[in-house]
C-alpha cells in the first residue's frame, strides 16, 4: 500500500518542521539499510523471543465461543508479552535501530502508559537515557504506569497543554525532538506521524499477523473469517491485519473508541466522525471542527483517546478493505467484565473495545467460521478506573 514518498493512497507524507526533516531522512536511510540485514533481524528475533516472550499464543476461547453460540473465537494473546501489551514489538525494533544509528537517548509519548512502559523497559535493558511525555490527565488515570516508568529509570514529564491527553503528549514529544536531535531518537508508539514511522511501526508489529496466520492454519486448517482489533493510532490493528490484506475473504475490522457515543461530542471515533486533514506529520482522518481545529476527543480508554488514525488505516478504509466500527465506553466495560468472568482473562480496556464487537458479531456467524480478536494488552492497569466507572471508590 505504500510508495517511496511514504504515502498510503492520498494519506501519509511528512508534514513536519524543516528542523526535523534530516532526522526523519536519517531514520529512513537507517531503516532501509538494516531492515533486511541478517544480523539486525537475528538480534531482533532473539530479543522478541527471549526477552519479550514471543511468539504469543493464539488461544481458543472455548467458553466464550459456547456462550455466544456462533463463530469460533480465538484470542491473540499480545497481553502475555513482557510489559503486558503489543507495544514492546515496536519498541524493541526501534531501539535496536536507534542503537545502530548511534543514539544514546530516547524520547516517547504515551497515552495509557503501555508504550511508555515498554520504552522505559527496553531503555533500561540497553542502558539508554529515556524521557516519556504523558498528558497530565492520563497520568492521573494511569498512575501505576507512571510509577512503573519511574521505577524503570525513565523520567516522566507531564504535559498539561490542551486536553492533557495523548494528542498533547505527541505534540510535546515532537517539540522536544526539534530541541535535541543529535543524540536522540523519538520512539513513536503507533503507526502514525511522518514517514517513515507508519511503515517502520507497521513492519515491527506485523509479527502479530504473521503468527496469527501460521497459528490459525495449524489450529483450524484455514485462515480466519474475521480479524478484529481496537484502533487508536492503530498499531496493534495494523499488526493484526497486515499479512491478511491480500486475503480478500478475511474481514478486517477496527474498533474505534466511541466514548459516550458517536452522536455526542465526547467521542474519539475518528473514522466515524472525522474528516481528512493534516496533523502530527501526516495526512489522514482527524476529529476536527469546520475550521480545522483539532477536536478535544474523549474515551474511557487513555490508549484510544486520540483524534487521528494512522494513514494506512485511512487508506484501507478508503479502499473498502477494512471497516471501522464505533464501540462505546459502556460496551467496552461490559466486554472487560465479560472476558474476566468467562475466560479468566482481564483484558486492557483498549482491547475490550475489540472484544465488544466480537461479542456482537460471533452469534451472527456460523459455527464453522473463525474470529480472531487481537487481545492487545492486559487489564491490570485498568482495574481501578473500571471500578470507579462502576461507582466504587477505589484508587491505585
Amino acid at each position: 500500500m505504500t510508495n517511496p514518498q511514504g504515502r498510503f493512497g492520498v494519506h501519509g507524507g511528512q508534514y513536519i518542521p524543516e528542523t526535523l526533516m534530516n532526522a526523519v531522512i536519517e531514520l529512513e536511510q537507517a531503516y532501509e539499510r538494516f531492515k533486511d540485514d541478517p544480523d539486525f533481524n537475528a538480534e531482533l528475533n532473539q530479543m522478541l523471543n527471549d526477552y519479550a516472550g514471543r511468539p504469543s499464543r493464539l488461544y481458543f476461547a472455548e467458553r466464550m465461543t459456547q456462550d455466544l453460540g456462533g463463530a469460533r473465537v480465538y484470542l491473540k494473546r499480545e497481553d502475555l508479552n513482557h510489559t503486558g501489551a503489543h507495544k514492546i514489538n515496536n519498541v524493541v525494533g526501534q531501539m535496536l535501530l536507534a542503537r545502530r544509528m548511534g543514539k544514546t537517548r530516547v524520547i516517547a509519548e504515551t497515552g495509557a502508559g503501555q508504550h511508555g512502559v515498554a520504552t522505559a523497559t527496553v531503555a533500561a535493558l540497553m542502558g539508554m537515557e529515556c524521557v516519556v511525555y504523558m498528558g497530565t490527565e492520563d497520568m492521573e488515570r494511569q498512575a501505576l504506569n507512571v510509577y512503573r516508568m519511574r521505577l524503570l529509570g525513565a523520567e516522566v514529564r507531564g504535559v498539561a497543554s490542551g486536553t492533557g491527553t495523548l494528542k498533547d503528549a505527541v505534540s510535546e514529544t515532537f517539540r522536544e525532538w526539534t530541541n535535541r536531535i543529535e543524540d536522540t531518537h523519538y520512539v513513536l508508539g503507533s503507526v502514525m506521524g511522518p514517514h517513515p514511522f507508519p511503515t517502520i511501526v507497521r513492519d515491527f508489529q506485523a509479527v502479530i499477523s504473521r503468527e496469527i496466520r501460521e497459528q490459525c492454519l495449524a489450529a483450524e486448517g484455514k485462515l480466519p473469517d474475521a480479524v478484529i482489533a481496537c484502533v487508536g493510532g492503530g498499531s496493534n490493528a495494523i499488526g493484526a491485519f497486515y499479512h491478511f490484506i491480500g486475503d480478500k475473504d478475511v474481514a478486517l475490522i477496527g474498533c474505534e473508541a466511541a466514548g459516550r457515543g458517536i452522536d455526542t461530542w465526547e467521542t474519539a471515533a475518528t473514522m466515524n466522525t472525522g474528516r481528512i486533514g493534516i496533523f502530527h506529520g501526516m495526512k489522514s482522518y482527524f476529529c476536527q471542527d469546520e475550521f480545522g481545529q483539532i477536536a478535544p476527543v474523549y474515551s474511557i480508554s487513555a490508549g484510544l483517546d486520540y483524534p487521528g488514525i494512522g494513514p494506512e488505516h485511512a487508506a484501507l478504509s478508503d479502499a473498502g478493505r477494512a471497516s471501522y466500527v464505533p464501540v462505546t465506553d459502556e460496551e467496552a466495560v461490559q466486554a472487560f467484565e465479560y472476558l474476566s468472568r468467562t475466560e479468566g482473562i482481564i483484558p486492557a480496556i483498549e482491547s475490550a473495545h475489540a472484544l465488544a464487537h466480537a461479542i456482537e458479531l460471533a452469534p451472527k456467524m456460523r459455527p464453522d467460521q473463525v474470529i480472531v480478536v487481537n487481545l492487545s494488552g492486559r487489564g491490570d492497569k485498568d482495574v481501578a478506573a473500571i471500578a470507579r466507572y462502576r461507582g466504587e471508590d477505589l484508587h491505585d
Partner: protein, 276 residues
C-alpha cells in the same frame, strides 16, 4: 503574478512580499490574530506599521501549534477561546487593507498558520480568500519542501508567496530549498520551538551564505530574538529579523492595553534594525 519589471531576475524579488526588504534591512513582528481579541489585533497591526515594521506576520490560531513554545501556544488558545475563526481573520485583514475603522495598512502582510487550517478550509478557497483580503505571503511551519506541492502552486496562482523555512539542521538541503524560494527565506535561528532565548549560537552567517548562493530572495532570521540588540545582530547577518514571542509576551501581560507597550518594543526593534 508576472512582473512588470524586465530587469528583475527572480519572482521572489518582484513580489510585494519582497518589497519589505527594498529599503534595507527589514523588521518583521508577529502577532496571533484574536489575542486577546480581533479589535486589539487590528490596533496592534496599525501601530506596528506606524512604528516602522516592514512586514507583519499574522498568526491564524490553531488548536495544536506543534512548532510553538509555550508563549505562542497560549496565545493561540486565548485567540480560539475568544471565538477567533479563519473567516474572522480574513475580515480583519480586509478591514486593515480597506482602512475600515482606522488607517489603511499598506505594508506586506503574511499569514503564519498550520497546514490543517489551510487544507481543511480548502487550499484553493483559502488562497482565494487570502488574496481577496490582501495577503502577500503564507508561512506554514509544518509544511517542509517535500510537501509544499499541495500548497505552492495554488498560492502562486493567487499571487501569494509560500515562504520556505530553513533550519540549523538543514545543511545540504538549504540550496534545494532556497532555489525555489518565494517572497523571502525564513531562517530558523535555533533548534527547538519558538520562544525567547538568551543567546543564539547557530552560525547564521554560513546559513545565509548558502541561501545567497542559490537565490536572490532576501533572508530573514527568526526564533529566539527578544531584544533590539539581538534583532540588530541577526539583521546584520541577514536581510531582516522576525520577532514573535517577545511581542506576544507583552500582549499576554497587557491584554487590551497592549498597543502602547508592544508598539514601543516594535519601534525600538525596527529602529535598531534600520540603523544598521
Amino acid at each position: 503574478m508576472t512582473s512588470q519589471n524586465p530587469v528583475t531576475a527572480s519572482s521572489a524579488r518582484s513580489s510585494h512580499t519582497a518589497s519589505a526588504f527594498a529599503r534595507g534591512k527589514a523588521f518583521i513582528p508577529f502577532i496571533t490574530c484574536g489575542d486577546p481579541d480581533l479589535q486589539t489585533s487590528a490596533a496592534l497591526v496599525r501601530s506596528f506599521a506606524q512604528a516602522g515594521a516592514d512586514l507583519i506576520e499574522l498568526g491564524i490560531p490553531f488548536s495544536d501549534p506543534t512548532a510553538e513554545g509555550v508563549t505562542i501556544q497560549d496565545a493561540n488558545l486565548r485567540a480560539l477561546s475568544a471565538g477567533t475563526t479563519t473567516d474572522k481573520v480574513f475580515e480583519l485583514v480586509h478591514d486593515l487593507r480597506e482602512g475600515t475603522n482606522g488607517p489603511a495598512v499598506d505594508i506586506p502582510l503574511a499569514f503564519m498558520t498550520y497546514a490543517n487550517v489551510v487544507f481543511s478550509y480548502g487550499t484553493e478557497r483559502f488562497c482565494a480568500a487570502a488574496e481577496e483580503a490582501g495577503i502577500d505571503a503564507i508561512i506554514l511551519p509544518d509544511v517542509p519542501f517535500e510537501e509544499k506541492g499541495d500548497f505552492d502552486a495554488i498560492a502562486r496562482q493567487h499571487g501569494i508567496d509560500l515562504v520556505s523555512l530553513i533550519a540549523p539542521t538543514s545543511n545540504e538541503r538549504i540550496r534545494m530549498i532556497a532555489a525555489e524560494a518565494a517572497g523571502f527565506v525564513y531562517c530558523v535561528s535555533s533548534l527547538g520551538v519558538t520562544g525567547t532565548r538568551d543567546a543564539i549560537t547557530t552560525d547564521i552567517g554560513s546559513m545565509v551564505e548558502l541561501v545567497r548562493e542559490a537565490t536572490d530572495a532576501p533572508v530573514a532570521v527568526g526564533f529566539g530574538i527578544s531584544t533590539p540588540e539581538q534583532a540588530a545582530q541577526m539583521a546584520r547577518l541577514s536581510d531582516g529579523a522576525i520577532v514573535g514571542s517577545a511581542i506576544v509576551k507583552l500582549i499576554a501581560e497587557h491584554g487590551r492595553d497592549a498597543v502602547g507597550p508592544a508598539s514601543e518594543l516594535v519601534c525600538a526593534m525596527a529602529q535598531a534594525v534600520h540603523d544598521i
